[in-house]
Amino acid sequence: MKRALVVVVFFALLVAGWEVLYRMKIWSPVLVPSPVTVGQYLIESGKDGTMLQATIVTMRRLLIGYFLSIVVGLPLGLLTARFKFAEDTLGVLSLGLQTLPSVCWIPLALLWFGQTEAAMLFVVIMGSLFSILIATDNGVRTVPPIYARAARTMGSGQFHTWFKVILPASLPFIVSGMKQGWGFAWRSLMGAEIYVTILTGFGLGHLLHYGRELNAMDQVIGVMLVIIVIGLLADKILFSPWEKFLYRRWGTQK
């Protein structure tokens, strides 16, 4: 309760300070709009549905791409951890591609797929796939071998051991890899949306881009705020439950 109050007061002061700076007219109001105008933009864009529409388009790309990354990245990570051959081929390749900043995939995606949904999905997948794969691989390698030995004496077979012992034992690594992957995917998707107009859907990045084109600073700041809030919500909804579970079971401080 007290902590919530601190948070509210802090942000109220932040906005108040912003309003004061605006009223002092140090900068042009075109460059520093009032928080009230930004609020008005958010309300209007909320009412006419543009903000919701753009959010849905962006989130759909992000979630589908991210889901595909997990579906592909997790098993591949298991493979590279288990088989020397996969480690020396796929593992090395992933490590290399992981070092590539994910926005660098955008030009290639556009040339291959054009200004389409496929290009967006490709960028999201390339952003998150490798960190999920590498985190899974890492996690599996750090599982104490004694877990598998104990499981085997209890009658656990090959597959059972993989799914019921090694995979859950590497959860701390997998969750942090998934979180990192989410961050990369989110950043690269925003980059792509700001960078190019996609004919099949108008996302938050485009909204941000057109804010600049129209010199509408209230729109630019408003969209940025929405992007921040989505990032925070994603953290709470997608990762917080996992982190709480890890904390409760492993007793690790997060």
């Binding site: 877990y147 104990a150 004496t153 019921k164 034992a169 007793g251």
Partner: protein, 270 residues
Amino acid sequence: MTLEQELQNVAPEKLVVENVSKTFRQRRTIVHALDNVSLNVREGEFVCLVGPSGCGKSTLLNIIAGLEFPDSGRVVADGKPVTGPGRERMMMFQEPALFPWLDVLDNLMFGLKLKSNLNNRERREVAQFYLKLVGLEKFIHANIHELSGGMKQRVALARALAPNPRVLLMDEPFAALDALTREQLYGDIQGIWEKRRKTIIFVTHNVREAACLGDRVVLFSPHPGRIREEFQIDLPRPRDINTVELAKHASAIRGALKQHLVSEEAEVPE
């Protein structure tokens, strides 16, 4: 079974180790962990394997468990050669090896869920029974990291007992615990052994511990790992590790151990 055995009609041994040898190749050296080791264990017997580190006693236990395989020789359990791990021979390690992503109950349920002849209600009952046996029924939903070292090892014992193995293989299970907890567990394990009538093979480097727990103490010596001597311990149970009679047995074993180590050093040119 040979004709001779058939005619004599002897009860088959619970566990027979026949001429087992095992060497490990490291980068430059070859370690003869076990050299032609044979051992018979009767049903319900409590056998302690004792010896200095590197004498192959843990390797032998792993081979009996089916986690490792001998270079030559074989292990026969209940008349069937061991070809891999199985829940009729449950293993307990020096580390508890409990699964941190499961709570205490689910750790016990792990092995029970692999037994298809029980339904979930029965499995739960079995798990609760064994938790009670080790005195931890109050901690049924505790997380593993919340338990002390001794409690963890108790849960590990309950987990090993829950699927009702006939043979329990214990690899220095109390070595990492403090002396007080350890003495409590000596009492617990003897009580459980008498109640549940298990065959137990217990590996330790602590001679006194071996004399306290075993019906028979098998003395190993290293390089190469061989069985040197066997001692019958016929003290009444439950035994207290601090009694004088037990100390006498222990010192006899310790004396033999030292003697073998000295003659060992004389054999190895260095």
